[in-house]
Amino acid sequence: MTTTRLVDESLFAADGDEPGHAGVPSLLGSRCDGCGTTTFPRQDTCPRCGGAAMAGTVLPRAGTIWSATVQHFAPKPPFRHDGEFVPFGMGYVDLGEVIVVTRFTESDPGRLAIGTPVSLCAVPAYTDGDGTAVVSYGFAVAAAGDEG
């Protein structure tokens, strides 16, 4: 059985096993106790007010596309991928309290219109030398009836 690991555990909450989460934990940001600013990923100090009281905050699993593009050429290292490069969608998703960078599972620019509802999912990133499958996060265009 293939072992799996997250590309960077610090990006995620510990709720991957919750029902409906399909093994993909929610994204983990931080929120400033002083001014309410939310960042992603977590950081120790607030970039808005300079305060040091930043609490971890679980981010919403659904949002809308704020902007999107398709990556048509393979980024240079440290980008890692398996096999031939396949163009991928990327951009920013509006989660309300914060807008975060993301991969999209859709790579047709015609289906990545600004405002499209999307929900959190796992995105295969690459395979380690020892065969471990490395997983990152992404957002998929929500089918009708999805609750994310």
């Binding site: 590309v7 999107a68 980024p75 991969r103 600004i114 490395v134």
Partner: protein, 382 residues
């Protein structure tokens, strides 16, 4: 700034690939050209500020230029290197302690020059591993959002690039000197939607040198001085959308370009509507479009009409990037900010030859933008 800093000499190498010519050789050539232009010699320099991203320490050039003991301060500020050098030189003159000195910027980027590591910009390796460490993504996502918000079509992107290559054809030292029709630009391979290969600049090669003087010294020299009325550098404030962002605030604020340009206009006592000729950062076509409005040269959303009406052409109401900008000259980041000033000085002197803006322009403006979210702007007048 009043009329207290003058540009009395300018020099510029060819831009674009020059096999067998080093960045340092280009720099020395530019300095010599600027000295000849000003009617001075290197030993007359009382100070120098200069820098390069890829070509090492600028101050080591004294072994080639002349070991006079001149205080030569290296500036390492990415795309802001030229602007920062200029600001430093202007401050030396405004202080009254110096009255003649050099500003220098040069670069010769090897392939893969901007292959930044996530750690260098404070990000985890995941960001690069999963494919986000690409500056073209930033420009694409920013212009996608902008086109959507201001109802501008992607046709405008091709028109900007077509203008750049047209103007490059009129600029002897430019890199890309062949006009390319807008339709061909639009049909070129897509890099990051909506931007095709021909809408992006490439990292490049080139050197620019400027000689600054006090107004009293300038009056004793034979050239027609152009006055540096302001030079302002800013970094991003919270809420702006810059390159390598893992998140954005839902509360948008004005971009760093808006902050720097506002500061430059205010310091100079000049309005955007006074500008007769402008150089704007055109890393890709969308950048020129956004920067037109961010600097206040036009309103958001007006750009497509201005382009269609030819208002930003050399003969238009507000000529932008008369020498083809970075799209046609390439992007040697140490030099580009100074190339912009060099072109404006030529225009204000009436020495721009086949790409001269008609009717004696008297007020010019330059704006650069770069990672990690900095902008430097200048106002120049006769």
């Amino acid at each position: 700034m009043g009329h207290d800093v003058a540009i009395v000499g300018i020099g510029m190498s060819k831009f674009g690939r020059q096999p067998g010519v080093t960045g340092r050789q280009m720099a020395v050539g530019a300095v010599r050209e600027a000295c000849a232009d000003a009617g001075v010699a290197w030993p007359d320099m009382q100070f120098a500020f200069g820098g390069s991203y890829s070509c090492g320490d600028a101050d080591t050039l004294v072994s080639l230029l002349g070991l006079t003991g001149v205080p030569f301060i290296n500036v390492y500020n990415g795309c802001g290197t030229g602007g920062s050098s200029l600001i430093s030189a202007a401050n030396a003159i405004k202080s009254g302690e110096r009255d003649l000195g050099l500003v220098l910027g040069f670069d010769k980027h090897p392939p893969g020059a901007f292959n930044e590591l996530p750690e260098n910009v404070g990000l985890g390796s995941w960001y690069g591993e999963t494919g986000f460490m690409v500056t073209t993504q930033f420009f694409a996502t920013k212009i996608q959002r902008y086109l959507h918000e201001w109802d501008i079509s992607s046709r405008a992107l091709a028109m900007v690039a077509a203008k750049a290559y047209r103007n490059g054809a009129l600029s002897q030292k430019a890199w890309r000197r062949t006009p390319v029709p807008a339709e061909e630009i639009a049909r070129a391979p897509m890099v990051n939607d909506p931007l095709t290969k021909l809408m992006f600049c490439s990292p490049g090669e080139g050197a620019v040198a400027l000689i600054l003087a006090s107004p009293e010294r300038a009056r004793r020299m034979t050239t027609a001085p152009v006055y540096l009325r302001s030079a302002e550098l800013r970094s991003r404030r919270f809420g702006s959308f810059e390159v390598y962002s893992t998140w954005l605030s839902p509360d948008r604020v004005a971009s760093v370009t808006t902050d720097a340009s506002r500061a430059a206009f205010e310091a100079a006592g000049v309005e955007p509507s006074d500008v007769d000729v402008a150089q704007l950062q055109d890393t890709e076509s969308g950048a020129e479009i956004m920067h037109m409005a961010e600097t206040g040269l036009c309103a958001h959303g007006e750009q497509e009409k201005l382009l269609a009406d030819g208002d930003t052409e050399i003969g238009g109401r507000i000529p932008v990037n008369t020498d083809g900008g970075v799209l046609a000259n390439g992007e040697p980041i140490g030099a580009s900010g100074l190339r912009q000033v060099h072109e404006i000085v030529l225009q204000l002197r009436g020495q721009a030859g086949g790409r001269q803006v008609p009717n004696h322009p008297t007020t010019g403006f330059t704006q650069v933008y770069g990672s990690p979210g900095i902008s430097a702007c200048t106002v120049l007048t006769r």
